[in-house]
Amino acid sequence: MSKITSLTDAIHEYVHDGDSVALEGFTHLIPYAAGHEIMRQGRRDLALVRMTPDLIYDQMIGMGCARKLTFSWGGNPGVGSLHRFRDAVEKRWPHPLEIDERSHASMAAAYTAGAAGLPMGILRGFVGSDLPKYNPNIRFVECPFTGEKLAATPAINPDVSIIHAQKADRKGNVLLWGIVGVQKEAVLSAKRCIVTVEEIVDTLNAPPNACVLPSWVVDAVCEVPGGAFPSYSDGYYDRDNAVYIEWDSISKDRDAFSEWMKFHVMETNNFEEFRERLES
């Protein structure tokens, strides 16, 4: 299989039922097209990982792809709840969802540890919080120099990480810029990794010290223009806030949600067709 491939083939080859899967992107560059393709291909029992689940995980949870969610903030930014996520946790619909709930700082430290080949990240955190009472994945270590108690968070090492970036070159080197979130860490902590990009170019012309992922750490690069919609790609298009707002009413009702997903995602062949149906 060549490194530069179609999204369909990449998801088929690298995302398997039961995998732990991280789709990262902090508001910016969220890999929506890849999330849709995972649903289209009917993946099940995924252990989803993401700091801020966002709409794409709401959809995947509602469609029954996920058995578990590792996360730190599950809301619709600036709008309110993720109703499918809530329904899964509150009413176990479409089935129960195991949660591994942390904080942003500890998720970031956990990805960092994963990328750095360490079994845990350490941070000053969780003191006084009730989270450690409910999450056995939050523990504490003692500093052998000062005796201080520090929080420890187990490394995140997904079976597969997926990110969206602005550009790749024909060899599969990837360039992203702007708000880069934990994407580098998500890629470097994963066993396998897929990158969707706005475009494939002859040369990246990356500025010094830019966030570049060399092709040999990436398994598949897929050209998917607009693949972060309704999130955004700095330099390409803005966030479509209306979609985020509309999602609130679509997702509130189970039937309305299922129908919307069927029409827009499951019955389309790819992200382009999804966009067409959405805009028609």
Binding site: T27, I179, N241
Partner: protein, 254 residues
Amino acid sequence: MKEATPTEMMTIVAARRLKNRATCFVGIGIPSMASNLARLTHAPEIVLIYESGTVGAKPTILPLSIGDGELAETADAVVSTPEIFAYWLQGGRVDIGFLGAAQVDRFANLNSTVIGDYASPKVRLPGAGGAPEIAALAKETLVIIKHSSRSLVDRVDFITSAGYLDGGDARQKAGLRGGPSAVITDLGVLVPEEGANELVVEQLHPGVSRERIQEATGWELRFSDTVSETEEPTDSELSVLRNLIARTESARAR
């Protein structure tokens, strides 16, 4: 000028607490509005850090999401998420953190996790986000919340972010410094009483009576000896804020 709405009031009261050159760790919504209002009025050199990794953002319109392109473009530096939490927040470089929550209790503990039981919650809230570490590591935090007896409660259902825990020196004993310096609501301002660290009313917004704020609070409120009426928003505060919002709305409509 038209009277301030409750949201405007909260925003202006919060903005007034921000000193020039202060470094603020800012979330979306009122915190972002308040700190940008401060930047456009008395605190031009305030430093705004958003958890998406933008340090020194100077947006001309308000961001809708924590990671809007506007923030990255106007920032002095754009760093990764691990770095923003490790070097900038945990590194001790944040003077003031803003926090919202679904519930705050009499010792200023915050809940943004669940209403009801954790394992089978009545309402599953979005969760912690950056809050526990902001609450623990900013030199000072400001809590902004709409006043109601469901949001200002005697005991939060779940401590997501530590305030003063059981009150007194419990926070300090747990190894935490800082802590909430004020809870700003649409009715007034509550501050932790020295020593006990129980929230007491320090300010009432114009037209708000002691009875009204008590009625909207889930515990028997005490009032500071020096309780005062909040100064009315000035025309300048109101017009800068309203211009900012109008600018934001017109940019978003395009």
